[in-house]
Amino acid sequence: MDNLDGIWGRLFSFANYGELLGLVQNSIAAAAVLGIVGGLIGVFVMQRDMAFAVPGISELSFAGAAGALLIGANVVAGSLVGSLVAAVLIGLLGAKARDRNSIIGVLMPFGLGLGILFLALYPGRSANKFGLLTGQIISVDIPQLGTLIAIAVVVLVALLLIWRPLTFDSLDADVAAARGVPSRTLSLGFMVLLGLTVAVSVQIIGSLLVLALVVTPAAAALRVSSSPLSVPLLSMLFGSVSAVGGILLALGGSLPISPYITTISFLIYLGCRIVGARRPARVAVRPTATRSPDSRAAARIAA
């Protein structure tokens, strides 16, 4: 029993909470912004069926960060370089889904292996090493936090500006191209934005767990809504609640933040699945003359 109490005490401790809160308010701001950006870009990640690309990019981002640590360069810069190289490679070589998956499958272990090599060569403290894989937001200094927030804001604005053409392209690339949407440029631009988002996320939650901020919130939102407005709004809300909530819960203890973030994110997803499953099938109550009984049944099964 003592043991259990001990674990509980390590999981949740709110001693000197106010004081601690003052120390990490910049981290909390960064987490909130990242939650918003991750939630927003996640909606497109889901629509473009690119969830697998996210860990692919993040492992190369990890390699970049580890390399930077080894040579004494800026870790955020290293992480950015790794992310962007992976994102552009996947964007250029993986226009088709099948090609894309094989390229990601090849890049991912290569990046992770490279990162492990760099960390093994790095003579410094092991806490720094572990942080790249599982998150270290509290240890990011204030100028770097500023960089992270700035990158996140750039991604946010860029996404809003390409929103409609990107939606069109994600839904139906052929028709969008016929309409004059520059499909190739747009896809590549999207990959760059995803690369930036992943590089920022790696700093907060670690390269292994990026999916919890870039895919889970959007997946959860899509469970409870199909509206083009409420899905991104919910996804952004879920993302920032997970990121900020994780930091707030982890603050007093001595444990890493990431498991708190991933758990909140997962619980939100679980809740959305339950709510989504309880929603009445809207299709069934809709009386339209044009719909044949067969297609109605098919739609109900699909929904």
Partner: protein
């Protein structure tokens, strides 16, 4: 349909040729499509039907010859061309409603903050009413049937008030009822708006009643003319270079004896 000779063609190929490597898809193509005319493009797989559409969309350059739209050179993303693709089911869970699919035709190409404009909404409502899709305008697209989704795509293609409507197998994998509904929509619109239609299909039967002219591509060659002129045993036998029977039965056309690898007409589409 009768057209005075003064009317300028919407689409005009002059001596157009296209091929890949050594293989010629078609050459010496002279084609004029007039306003309000319905042209069906037929032919087996690999005969260059889709490449013809890509040429008209400006996504593919001719090897030689020229193609013009209303007398002007073609450029990519021309708003005067509407495009209806093969029916591809939108995955359930896609965060778009019926009206959003149509709205993409109105503003989907526009960069900038996605703020709603009053005019856009009215335009979308009008298009929805046009294609009879108002009843499910606010349903998630992923929950609609293939036929309903295809109606919305027709609405989307009409958004730019096109002078030319390009249809790439738009009836594929639709049930008979929706094949008729969608082809009637297209036919009605071209008559009321004098829009030219280029309709690529492997099966002419669902549109046989509304087709003015046929362009039949096969074996690197082509024939064009009215359905009665083209869909004849001797014409297609000559085109395929092998005996082919065209059978007309109960208002349907069946082409029998097309060599292997030229499977079509009977094909149910996948």
């Amino acid at each position: 349909m009768s057209h005075s000779t003064e009317t300028a063609p919407v689409l005009e190929f002059r001596d157009g040729a296209l091929g890949f490597g050594d293989r010629s898809l078609w050459e010496g193509l002279d084609l004029r499509v007039m306003p309000g005319e319905f042209l069906a493009v037929l032919g087996p797989n690999g005969s260059g039907k889709t490449s013809l559409l890509r040429t008209i969309l400006g996504q593919q350059q001719l090897d030689s010859g020229s193609v013009r739209l209303s007398g002007h050179a073609i450029h990519r993303g021309d708003r005067r061309v509407g495009y209806i693709p093969q029916q591809k089911l939108v995955p359930p869970g896609t965060p778009l409603r019926g009206r959003d699919l149509v709205a993409l035709g109105v503003n989907g190409h526009r960069f900038g903050l996605p703020l709603p404009r009053r005019g856009d909404r009215q335009r979308v409502d009008a298009l929805l009413a046009d294609v009879g899709a108002s009843a499910y305008a606010d349903q998630p697209v992923g929950t609609l049937s293939g036929g309903e989704q295809q109606r919305l795509r027709v609405g989307q293609a009409l958004a730019g008030d096109p002078v030319l409507l390009l249809c790439d197998e738009p009836l594929l994998s639709l049930d008979l009822h929706h094949q008729r509904v969608v082809s009637e929509l297209i036919d009605r619109h071209r008559r009321s708006h004098d829009t030219a239609v280029v309709f690529v299909t492997h099966d002419v039967n669902p549109v046989l009643d509304v087709v003015d002219r046929i362009l039949y591509l096969a074996n690197g060659r082509f024939r064009q003319g009215t359905p009665d002129e083209v869909l004849r045993s001797e014409v297609l036998s000559d085109l395929y270079d092998t005996p082919v029977d065209v059978i007309r039965s109960r208002g349907r056309v069946i082409v029998a004896g097309v060599p292997d690898g030229h499977d079509h007409h009977e094909e149910e589409g996948q």
